[in-house]
């Protein structure tokens, strides 16, 4: 197929038009004192005229209405809240800035996403499911600890696929205080777990917990504040099932005679493995142990897939490429040098998908965007994924001067110039290597 070019299309842009138009904004706040003064003067004038009965009724109403309108506007703008109100002063934590302005109190029994000021940093905190009992608390600081008001703070740990430090905390019914420390600071967060809510999804307590939390965060930053009732690893979606079949068919088209398969015991993993085996049978491909001349298909979750990619990179597991299930678009899975490929129904580095990455970075600074988070974002916004998946190659380019650790953290000594945090895979490639694949 030969590409086609279109002739240049001149675009007449009206003054001030166009989404990238060069416009200098003057914030309304700069006009507020002038407006307030003028409104007061006007009102006084109206009152004086009324008292002297020199103003006819229509003018009186018009002038008075304008002045009252302006004063209301000024008062409204002045008194508009700029920060969250649910952080208390038990420690040093307060909500700040634009991210905090976007925060709304979470309905009882739903995931909580807040930004706290801890140790001089804006730190994102995610609490899932936000219901009574065991909760996963993700904190955007390496040395984070968390606990309830009446217990010692527990040290958190990193988990594959996420930049957060995770702590498991048992929360009581109703409103309680969650204490968090990081960077030498401590803050408190009020969490209302509600009552009579359904049990938390079991996957939150497994290795798939961070992926489930990522999905919750994706929905939250998209504006969905509903309760978390299920995790991605609870089942295999029709789309993902079809993408796995398409991947097996793609391999068959390359003349693959056998493939290796690594899965896990999650409901999704078991179903996905069955789908792969079934599709392989249909295509005449045998499923065997890993081998140097055999592609390795991975239907495990983030933790398992990261282990597989690490093993292939190190040579412990031989493979002719690591073909990932769609939910494994997670940074720790993509950074080892293992020849990763993944079927996706979206193109990560486009404006549409970047909107999710940016929104996530704004509300949960430093957290990595993920395929599961984006799927939840799309569902919350009613966006349809592409009808047919493409196969993408993913790799991280480490070149002289690039000293970024395997999951994107700085190894020390350097700085990240630019907004790498909002990128799907900083210094990395996620490029389509196939057209839309046939699912059939």
């Amino acid at each position: 197929m030969i590409g086609s070019a279109e002739t240049q299309v001149p675009v007449a842009v009206p003054p001030g038009g166009g989404h990238l138009a060069l416009v200098q904004e003057t914030p309304a706040g700069g006009m507020l004192p002038v407006l307030a003064l003028a409104a007061v003067v006007g009102l006084v004038g109206v009152v004086v005229l009324v008292r002297r009965t020199t103003l006819p009724r229509p003018y009186l109403f018009a002038s008075g209405a304008v002045c009252v309108l302006v004063l209301s506007f000024v008062l409204g703008a002045t008194l508009r809240p700029v920060g969250g109100t649910d952080t208390t002063a038990a420690g040093h934590g307060t909500a700040h800035g634009a991210a905090a302005a976007a925060e709304r109190p979470s309905p009882p029994g739903t995931p909580v996403l807040r930004t706290l000021h801890l140790g001089g940093e804006q730190v994102g905190v995610l609490v899932v499911p936000g219901r009574p009992g065991r909760n996963l608390v993700g904190i955007g600081a390496a040395d984070a600890r968390a606990g309830t008001a009446d217990e010692a703070l527990r040290k958190g740990q990193r988990r594959p696929g996420s930049a957060q430090t995770w702590v498991t905390v048992d929360l009581p019914e109703g409103s309680s205080t969650l204490r968090i420390s990081a960077g030498g600071g401590t803050a408190s967060l009020t969490v209302d777990t509600g009552r009579d809510r359904p049990a938390a999804p079991p996957a939150l307590g497994t290795a798939d917990g961070p992926e489930c939390a990522a999905a919750a965060a994706g929905a939250l930053v998209a504006g969905d504040s509903g309760p978390l009732t299920a995790c991605p690893s609870d089942g295999l979606t029709a789309d993902d099932s079809a993408a796995l079949r398409a991947t097996v068919r793609f391999l068959a088209g390359r003349g693959t005679a056998s493939l290796a398969l690594v899965s896990d015991d999650s409901p999704r993993g078991r179903k996905a493995a069955a789908v792969v085996r079934s599709a392989a049978r249909q295509e005449g491909i045998t499923v065997s142990a890993p081998g140097r001349n055999r592609p390795l298909l991975v239907t495990a979750g983030w933790a398992g897939a990261t282990r597989v990619a690490d093993a292939v990179e190190s040579g412990r597991t031989p493979a002719q490429g690591v073909y990932l299930a769609p939910w494994n678009l997670a940074r720790s899975v993509l950074t080892p040098s293992a020849g990763q490929l993944i079927p996706l129904r979206f193109t990560p580095r486009t404006a549409r998908a970047s909107a999710y990455a940016e929104a996530l970075a704004a509300r949960l600074p430093g957290e990595y965007p993920s395929g599961s988070g984006y799927a939840a974002w799309q569902r919350a916004r009613g966006e349809e994924p592409q009808a047919r998946p493409r196969l993408f190659a993913a790799s991280t380019a480490y070149v002289p001067g690039t000293m970024v650790s395997a999951d994107g953290g700085d190894t020390g000594g350097g700085h990240q110039h630019g907004a790498a945090g909002a990128d799907w895979l900083p210094s990395g490639m996620i490029a389509p290597v196939s057209g839309p694949m046939r699912e059939g």
Binding site: V48, S337, V399, G401, M403, G418
Partner: protein
């Protein structure tokens, strides 16, 4: 009730109320969104639907400074520092004495792909040439028609599906017929065997891995031939690490490329296996730092014959370095070819080795490469402290002037990984007089084989001599990576023609994203070059916003909008077709 009357007492007060009300209404209408529109750039969009099914767009945003008679332009291929904002080609007025000299007159934003990692264009542009701009991490090449400069028209896209045997397009050499050779630094899209256009097969370990390849494209960016860079029999596995390991090891990760159509020669230098090179998880990083140069006979343009794969030698500094990574031979970033037909040799420079190599004849099966210059000598000329050497100095752009008189080289500066403090080591651009070396024919004597020669230059009479070394000071973690020669001169009547005598060069200060000793200060600077090879910064080439010399890409606003800082990589001198003879 008294009726309102202008003749009644209290008229001033009534007037005040009315004026206040009117003023407030006006203020309300404008106060909350008070937009003072600047003159709008003229926008034109061109589109191309590529073989991956995606319709790519390029949108010009021409300011009023782009108006008027055609003139000289500097094209700069820049990536947005914000991955959610579009990458773009900036067209900068490069016309000496122009009232808008140094002004960005047009930005050509690309869509829909973001975060391409804007990398290289071709090394030099001639009248009528199309423009090839590579997105390193998008595995995509954009091709533009330049007839309407300063406007650009997208006429082709080589997408990631068009080159299954290679990834990460790096450098371009445009041939006289308008086609181009491109280096693809990284391995095939899919790990496993890949069949090249000539039917040969190599097994690779996947995208951004190994082996890379050479791709010949037509004027619309369509793949004509995928050309293997790896030897069919494999290479030394000790020297050529691959992760994951390949059954037949390869060092084929071509970065820079030089072509002589007259001699039917193509030279490419191997850089690194980019995927995971220098990852802290890999203990054996040195074996991923390539030391090799490849030479092809391109008599058959679509099926070149690989004539030689040569390992660059280490020099006298190697013995003083603890890590192999800083030895002279490591990470051969760029080759350069002389232009005259009777000059059969080639140069190559190492990024982490800080050295320049030369072989007097690369048309033979075993070219005799030797070190002919050490960046350490240039550092002395630039006034650096004695302990600043070429080790790990990130030597980059390398080009021979069209008259075969000078060799130009940029150096980013000893890097943070090497351990040099950023305020002590600096980048530079230097000029070597290579006439004696080229004149020595097949038997040059120059050889840097003593530490004294590494510091003071070769003792042999035919060794290159530094005519000048211009420090480019910045304390960022990067430095001047790329450069361009101004191969045009203005003649009578406001016309231009191409020249062999270079009187101006430019540098860009950025290497690759998300790195230290890889980022930079994001400036594009201009330097005058005298006939004797002396450099002087052209301080009239100033940023339109800061008023300081050099065009600063760390700015808030562009003709296309307030998208913030950008990273300038590839730069190129061009001239409007209407005024170029």
């Amino acid at each position: 009730m008294r009726r309102f009357s202008l003749g009644q007492p209290g008229r001033p007060l009534r007037l005040a109320v009315c004026l206040t009300a009117a003023g407030l209404t006006a203020a309300l209408l404008t106060g909350s969104g008070n937009a003072t529109a600047s003159p709008e750039p003229e926008r034109t969009t061109s589109k191309f639907t590529a073989n991956d099914g995606v319709t790519y767009t390029a949108t010009n945003h021409m300011t009023s400074a782009a108006d008027g008679r055609g003139r000289e332009w500097m094209l700069t291929w820049a990536g947005s520092a914000d991955p959610a904002k579009p990458d773009f080609l900036a067209v900068v007025d490069a016309t000496r004495n122009s009232p808008t000299y140094g002004e960005v007159v047009n930005t050509v934003t690309l869509g829909p792909g973001l975060a391409n990692e804007a990398h290289h264009m071709q090394y030099v542009w001639h009248k009528g040439d199309r423009l090839y701009a590579g997105g390193l991490l998008a595995d995509t090449v954009y091709v533009f028609d330049t007839k309407a400069l300063p406007a650009l028209k997208l006429v082709g896209v080589n997408s990631s599906v068009d080159t299954p045997c290679g990834t990460a397009p790096d450098a371009f050499q445009v041939l006289s017929d308008g086609t181009t050779y491109a280096t693809y630094l990284g391995g095939p899209d899919l790990p496993g065997p890949c069949t090249y256009t000539n039917g040969e097969v190599r097994v690779g370990n996947g995208a951004a891995g190994s082996p890379g390849e050479i791709v010949r494209m037509d004027e619309n960016g369509q793949t004509i031939a995928e050309i293997p860079a790896a030897l069919a029999e494999g290479e030394d596995p000790e020297q050529c690490g691959n992760v994951p390991k390949l059954e037949k090891a390869t060092c084929a990760n071509p970065h820079g490329i030089a072509v002589s159509e007259e001699r039917d020669i193509m030279v490419a230098s191997d850089f690194v296996e980019a995927r995971h090179f220098m990852s802290p998880k890999l203990p054996d990083q040195a074996s991923l730092a390539r030391q090799t140069v490849r030479v092809w006979d391109i008599t058959n343009r679509n099926d070149p014959e690989l004539l030689s794969v040569s390992k660059m030698p280490d020099g006298p500094r190697a013995a003083r370095e603890d890590k192999e990574m800083w030895h002279e031979s490591r990470v051969v970033m760029e080759p350069a070819l002389p232009h005259k037909k009777h000059h059969k040799g080639a140069f190559a420079s190492s990024m982490l080795g800080g050295a320049i190599f030369y072989a007097p004849d690369v048309t033979v099966p075993n070219p005799k490469w030797r070190e002919v210059f050490d960046d350490t000598t240039a550092y002395r000329k630039a006034g650096a402290d004695r302990d600043v050497t070429g080790a790990g100095d990130a030597g980059s752009w390398l080009m021979v002037s069209p008259d075969d008189r000078y060799l130009f080289h940029t150096v980013m500066g000893q890097s943070t990984p090497y351990g040099a403090p950023l305020d002590k080591t600096t980048g530079m651009v230097y000029v070597l007089d290579i006439r004696k070396l080229l004149a020595a024919g097949d038997n040059p004597k120059c050889d840097i084989d003593s530490i004294d020669e590494a510091y003071r230059g070769g003792k042999e009479r035919d060794c290159p001599a530094v005519t000048d070394a211009m420090p480019i000071r910045d304390t960022t973690d990067g430095g001047p990576h790329w450069g361009a020669m101004d191969n045009f001169k203005q003649v009578r009547g406001g016309l231009y023609k191409e020249t062999e005598h270079i009187s101006r060069i430019a540098t860009s200060n950025y290497f690759i994203a998300g790195s230290f000793s890889g980022d930079g200060n994001h400036e594009v600077c201009m330097y005058d070059l005298s006939r004797s090879g002396k450099l002087r910064q052209d301080t009239r080439f100033r940023d339109e916003n800061t008023g300081r010399p050099c065009v600063d890409f760390d700015r808030t606003s562009w003709p296309h909008g307030d998208t913030g800082p950008a990273r300038p990589h590839g730069i190129l001198f061009t001239v409007s077709d209407s005024v170029l003879k």
